[in-house]
Amino acid sequence: MKNDIILSGVGGQGILSIAATIGLAAVANNLFLKQSEVHGMSQRGGDVQSHLRLSDKPVASDLIPHGKADLIISVEPMESLRYLPWLSDKGWLVTNSNPFINIPDYPSLDEILKEIKKIKNHIIIDADGIAKEAGSARSGNIVILGAASPYIDMPFESLEDAIKKLFGKKGDHVVETNLKALRAGKEFSVT
């Protein structure tokens, strides 16, 4: 088993809590794991990415080789396209449809969505809308994780357990809304 996942977004959008959830689940499943993160300069509203590598064998490189990613999970549509050189031809791209516009020359959203739809395996999800329905506008990132979960080779329950662990300190309510967000995301993908 091998899952090479690229997480992408804009600094401050919370891709690291997606990474942390998958990471906890991977440890619970006794998988080998490497997860490289971006800290420092780019966290100030710049583009950020994280390479997450899960395997039943030891993982050598911290970085995913070009053309080998099984999955891109993006919390921002334009950012999802930045990592296409890494996506394998069988890979999936799962992205939020809501743009984060903090640059003057941000392209038209229609054009971006058109490019995303050219990818054979893609899912575009209104994560912000679904998160609001689930009761927490801030868990859009977990909705996207839910939407990507069918393409991660771990039991869905282990992602749920990871959410419980990760958000446990913040109280039952936060855990519940995030679980709801995760399930709603999955629901969107499988139906």
Binding site: Q35, V38, G40, P65, H66, M78, L87
Partner: protein
């Protein structure tokens, strides 16, 4: 055995705690910051009362760690690569004094300059100081090596340099932890003159450092972190240093036994192991993350030995970090590739946060400096350096911490008027204060704007030594009270702030404008934790 998921930085911090660390010293700097942050939030550290406060800069951190070592305890100091330039005086001389308690200096290099002004390779400093240098290839090795580094440090009574790079520092992996070693007791050096580098003493100590280097070569030869594994092929042998070894393994996969390969993670260079490899192969490929330190050494000036591929002949790019693709190409393996990035994807450079005081300060600065034309504003390193980018285009320099003040002095000496420096609060206490003293003593005609967001923002909001002290510091250094102005960089104060800046630009002497407004990131975090 306990297993935990840790960043490379965190693995190093946990290892130091498990190896009986008594004092952690650091100044923030990407990619090293999380080492101290981990120690500060560690329950182990607080249970064991490990010293863990930030220092003003890397030099004070280095020297405090040396003091902890003088007192017989294990100490670690962490910094980014350019921090080692700041700490270099203490570092190089600590090799001559030697240590008492084990001392590890972590220098985190940032090849490709993700968050840095340059990509210098700290391994040069290991050779320069004639000390042992470790370069882990993965997070588990980083954890384990800290134990050995302390042992080597105490065995040879030398500081040990520990070089890591961005990808190791900021990548998480599962780590097996070892049993905890208790801290050492206070015990002073046996020789009361060990740390007294008067020339007569230093000459003797330097000779013993040079002869110890021969023993270190032997240590490198037998180190478990340097290993040579023969392979089937005779046409090409590989030398991979540190993290480069991972990219090699990633690429060769199952056919790892084809290549004779020497992995190097402990320095000085293991000469005999290198000869073992070169004696068997027609050609070699050298993979190093950073500068071609080993490659230059093997080629020498004559470069008339075995055929060598590496960064110097273009097989590997001369600059920038390695990645799996670069290494695949260098070995001659086929490259995989997804699709090109569509042309509509735009660059998204970092920018000021909404509600950042620096931004409002620069708006006022731009307006007040406008009559004088461009080229008057020296700046420094921090979030405020983002003002170099559009729409601000407000600053003309960013060189090294503190250089805004001193470059403004030099330019003013040359006749530039007005000559303005913009420096952050943490940068000011790191290296700006001594420059300000120069300005006061010489009565230079400079205006220094201290953009005070009460935190070390760029590296993630660590406590700033300047907080609540800037005004007193400036007065103490001798800035005239009438030209020590305090402003609040808010939009509603714009007109008044422009007027104050203009007044101070016109003043022919030292003036300081402190623009104070809390960083929006730390303010948000603080409010969240208060609720």
């Amino acid at each position: 055995m306990k297993r935990v998921l840790l960043l490379g930085d965190e693995a190093i911090a946990q290892a130091a705690l498990d190896a009986g660390l008594s004092g952690m010293y650091a100044y923030p700097g990407t990619p090293s910051t999380e080492i101290m942050e981990f120690v500060q939030s560690s329950k182990d550290a607080s249970d064991r009362n490990v010293h863990r406060e930030w220092s003003s800069n890397e030099k004070t951190a280095m020297e405090s760690a040396l003091g902890m070592s003088y007192a017989g305890k294990r100490a670690m100091v962490a910094m980014k690569h350019v921090g080692l330039n700041v700490a270099a005086d203490g570092f190089i001389n600590s090799a001559i004094t030697g240590v008492n308690g084990g001392l590890i200096i972590i220098s985190a290099d940032d090849p490709s300059m993700h968050s840095s002004q340059n990509e210098q390779d700290s391994r040069f400093y290991g050779k320069f100081a004639s000390v042992p240098c470790f370069e882990p290839s993965n997070q588990q090795e980083a954890y384990d090596m800290v134990f050995e580094a302390f042992e080597v440090s105490e065995k040879y009574k030398l500081p040990v340099l520990f070089r890591i790079t961005t990808r190791l520092a900021h990548s998480r992996a599962s780590i097996n932890l070892r049993e905890t070693i208790p801290q050492k007791k206070l015990s002073l050096p046996v020789d009361p003159l060990q740390f007294v580098l008067l020339p007569a003493i230093a000459r003797i100590k330097y000779k013993s450092l040079l002869s110890a280097y021969e023993s270190l070569r032997y240590e490198s030869r037998i180190s478990k972190y340097n290993n040579f594994k023969d392979g089937r092929r005779r046409d090409l042998g590989i030398i991979a240093c540190g993290i480069a070894y991972n990219y090699f393994l990633e690429n060769v996969g199952e056919s790892v036994n084809d290549f004779p390969v020497l992995k190097i993670s402990a320095y000085p260079f293991p000469k005999e192991l290198i000869k073992d490899l070169t004696g068997r192969c027609n050609e070699i490929l050298i993979l190093e993350e950073g500068a071609p330190v080993l490659e230059e050494a093997i080629r020498g000036i004559l470069d008339d030995g075995i055929k060598i591929y590496g960064r110097l002949d273009g097989t590997v790019p001369r600059d920038g970090e390695l990645n799996p693709a670069i290494v695949a190409k260098a070995i001659g393996l086929p490259l995989s590739y997804g699709q090109d990035v569509p042309s509509l994807v735009k660059m998204r450079p970092p920018s000021f946060c909404n509600g950042c005081g620096h931004a409002d300060m620069f708006k006022s600065l731009n307006e007040s400096i406008k009559p004088y034309g461009t080229g008057h504003v020296f700046s420094d390193i921090g979030c405020y350096t983002l003002a170099a980018l559009p729409p601000y285009n407000a600053i003309n320099s960013c060189v090294d911490m503190g250089a805004s003040v001193t470059m403004a002095i030099g330019a003013s000496d040359a006749g530039l008027f007005p000559s303005v420096a913009v420096i952050g609060d943490s940068t000011f206490t790191h290296s700006g204060m001594t420059g300000l003293l120069d300005a006061v003593v010489k009565n230079s005609s400079v205006t220094i704007i201290i953009s005070d967001n009460s935190t070390t923002g760029m590296t993630g909001g660590q406590k700033s030594h300047a907080t609540g002290r800037i005004e007193q510091i400036c007065e103490g250094i001798g800035v005239n009270r009438e030209h020590l102005r305090i402003i609040v960089p808010l939009r509603k104060n714009h007109a008044e702030n422009v007027r104050i800046m203009k007044e101070e630009f016109e003043y022919k002497g030292v003036s300081v404008v402190i623009a104070s407004r809390e960083c929006i990131q730390t303010a948000t975090k603080r409010k969240r934790s208060e609720n």
